[in-house]
């Protein structure tokens, strides 16, 4: 066991992947000499050389498109998209090519690309640096989408993503890059597409992923002071979603709150709520609630505290499903 920040754990996972498979290579802007703008790839270029750690031209579509060609030639490219908001120039290559090539070739071609994308807000930055675009990709058949919430998962899930023969979008919760945790570099990981119950409870199921898992655990801790027992689930995988774990929990608690930073409309919370309503209908004591980013462009830094779900907004929704007084009590517009 060794204590690592989440960013360093990802770096350790990359190093291990480069060591274990000489067909793994890293591509991205500023990942070489600089070590990436978040220093995740610090030192890897010196260790593995410029053919395996490639500072690419400033062109996201180029990065992903050439990674596809490398895949045809048997390479496993791990591409870094510098910030969430910079992924859109590569959108066409991702959804029209990466996602569909295996099907288009009747399974003859695998596209084992991993796209690393720092995502999410609450870092006080400027436009395009705080977005949560996961729903676009989870919606696209052919892509796997995962996101770790802690250093151990960051390390293990990255290695699994790189080893997978499917393309995996690996969203990194950048506001948690400096969160420290014990990492067992030899740990046998749980399956990549399994969710984890990170805190058990009996009254409400609180479903979170990535950067908001820590907030959800805090919310559960605070709710315990009011004798509300919250079960927190870290989804880890967003496509597919481990609905068995979700279903077991909701059938136990009868109440569910889903949280994410991405906007509410068309977000994953809606999909999760729909499946829960289908599979847990007769266990539901209250309608599933969502606590999400607002349906607006990610706001300027001084407003982001209002955009990013926090403990209080989560517990307000918990109050709603518990039938306790909440901000919408008496709200006739519902």
């Amino acid at each position: 066991m060794t204590e690592l920040t989440l960013a360093k754990a990802i770096g350790a996972g990359l190093r291990r992947a480069l060591q274990d498979d000489d067909h793994v290579l890293l591509m991205g802007e500023d990942i070489g000499e600089l070590g990436g703008v978040f220093r995740v790839t610090d030192g890897l270029k010196h260790e593995f050389g410029p053919l395996r750690v490639v500072d690419t031209p400033l062109a996201e579509s180029g990065i992903v498109g050439t990674a596809i060609g490398l895949a045809f030639r048997g390479y496993r490219a791990v591409c870094e998209i510098q910030f969430d908001g910079f992924i859109y120039p590569a959108f066409d290559q991702i959804v029209a090519q990466v996602a569909k090539l295996h099907a288009r070739t009747n399974g003859a071609v695998n596209i084992p690309i991993t796209l690393r994308v720092p995502y999410g807000g609450a870092i006080g930055s400027v436009e395009h640096h705080s977005e949560s675009p996961e729903a676009y990709f989870a919606h696209t058949a052919g892509l796997r989408v995962v996101t770790p919430s802690n250093p151990q998962d960051a390390y293990s899930m990255l290695r699994q993503a790189i080893a997978s023969n499917d393309p995996v979008i690996y969203f990194e919760p950048k506001r948690r890059y400096w969160t420290k945790g014990e990492v067992d570099l030899e740990a046998e990981p749980m399956p990549l597409d399994k969710a984890r119950v990170v805190r058990e409870g009996t009254d409400v199921t609180l479903i979170a992923y990535g950067p908001l898992v820590a907030t959800a655990v805090d919310a559960a801790e605070a709710a315990a002071d009011e004798d509300i027992s919250i079960e927190v689930i870290d989804l880890r995988s967003l496509a597919p979603i481990d609905f068995d774990t979700v279903e077991d929990s909701v059938n136990k608690t009868g109440r569910v709150v889903i949280v994410h930073e991405a906007a509410e409309f068309g977000g994953l919370g809606g999909e999760i709520a729909a499946v829960i309503t289908d599979r847990c209908f007769y266990s539901l004591e209250a309608p599933p609630q969502r606590v999400t980013g607002l349906n607006v462009p990610y706001p300027p830094a001084k407003l982001e505290d209002h955009f990013v779900p926090d403990l209080d907004r989560m517990l307000d929704a918990v109050d709603r499903v518990m039938g306790r007084e909440n901000s919408l009590t008496g709200w006739s517009a519902r």
Binding site: E33, G85, E127, K302
Partner: protein, 377 residues
């Protein structure tokens, strides 16, 4: 000026034609006026007052930029992308524009914004995080900065297509960096501009770095060489020579106004600071190169030239010093005084027309804010 498809298209040409790659220069790095048959006439109208005004602009913008960097270090700005070292490229080109020309820039063009009339504190609103936008584009005929690399080149081209349709002789200018030339958008913009003969100027500040990547990652040949392939003539100009930049810009503007279409300018300059205040150039920069460029500082060079003309008297120096001190002081106070926006403004300006879904969310959120301690602050 290079025009059209040139003799440089021999199939065996892989090395760079060194002489042709020498940028246009009217001032040597030590401030000595270099004669140019082709370009002298484009700046001969500049009076002493004009020269001193250009000088003051460059000094004030550098001071402002340094002040903004300091404010970021002091926690007053979230982030800041310094323009240090690029003052000549920005002031020289922007001062060649007419009011009715329209500018689309990246996020480092503080000198351009200053010349267009943007208030200094307005330039810092987005970096302080108090607003989505620092100014109204139509009041200064300059769009607010594009952060997505290269996207604005297409916008400028489209604006120029509109000018064409209006029968006007205004010009659209796209400012971008060397890194942006790798983006598909920039190449697509040149294709559109060439195909439609749009009155647009592609003004590339090659500051040698895209964050940590030297320009060599984006291109082997000079960037200016790329445009002729699109049938867009290009000029490679010394970006630290404010006179040469202004001359080249005037040439390009004249072409555009005359209906001859787009021009590509590569202003060869140097990013003397970090990419942004979050960056650490010590990890990648070449110290010898940095020193070499420090000797080509655009302000020192112009200062030496003005001195040689006997224009920098003590009273001029004092007045410029007073102007930069005053600008810095007023800017610092105004920046710190920028207020945090009210919470519910988060819902403003998402749509131009009423939107039932957003209005409902706004009402619910307002109910939440009035319910939670401190919510309305």
């Amino acid at each position: 000026m290079r025009t059209g498809v040139s003799e440089k298209t021999q199939p065996t040409a892989v090395s760079v034609d060194a002489e042709a790659d020498l940028p246009v220069q009217l001032l040597s790095p030590t401030g000595i006026r270099v004669e140019s048959v082709e370009y002298d006439s484009w700046v001969e109208d500049l009076s002493d007052e004009d020269l001193l005004a250009i000088y003051e602009d460059m000094v004030v913008v550098r001071r402002f930029d340094n002040e903004a960097t300091a404010l970021q270090r002091q926690g007053q700005l979230g982030l800041w992308p310094p323009s240090l070292g690029q003052e000549a490229a920005q002031i020289g080109s922007a001062r060649a524009l007419r009011t009715d020309d329209f500018v689309f820039t990246s996020y480092r063009e503080h000198g351009v914004a200053y010349v267009r009339g943007v208030k200094l504190e307005d330039m810092t609103r987005v970096w302080r995080g108090t607003a989505n936008s620092g100014w109204d584009p139509f009041t200064v005929n300059m769009a607010t900065p594009a952060v997505i690399i290269g996207a604005q080149t297409l916008h400028a081209t489209g604006y120029a297509m509109g000018v064409q349709r209006d029968g006007a002789d205004s010009v659209a200018v796209a400012y971008f960096g060397d890194g942006a030339t790798s983006q598909g958008d920039v190449n697509e913009a040149m294709i559109f501009a060439a195909s439609f003969k749009a009155p647009v100027i592609f003004f590339c500040q090659n500051n040698q770095w895209a964050i940590s990547e030297p320009v060599g990652v984006q291109t082997i040949r000079p960037i200016a060489d790329r445009a002729p392939g699109f049938n867009i003539p290009s000029i490679r100009v010394d970006g630290n020579d404010v006179l040469a930049v202004m001359a080249a810009m005037r040439v390009a503007l004249e072409r555009a106004r005359a209906g001859s279409g787009a021009t590509f300018l590569e202003a060869v300059t140097y990013r003397m600071g970090p990419h942004t205040t979050s960056d650490d150039p010590s990890r990648y920069e070449d110290l010898a190169e940095r020193e070499e460029w420090a000797a080509k500082d655009p302000i020192k060079r112009f200062e030496a030239y003005l001195e040689s003309l006997g224009l920098l008297t003590d009273s001029v120096r004092a007045s410029v010093k007073a102007a930069e001190d005053d600008a810095a002081k007023r800017f610092r106070a105004a920046c710190i005084a920028l207020e945090d926006p009210a919470p519910l403004t988060i819902f403003d300006h998402v749509y131009a027309e009423p939107h039932s879904g957003l209005e409902r969310q706004k009402r619910e959120f307002a109910a939440y804010l009035s319910y939670i301690e401190g919510g309305t602050r």
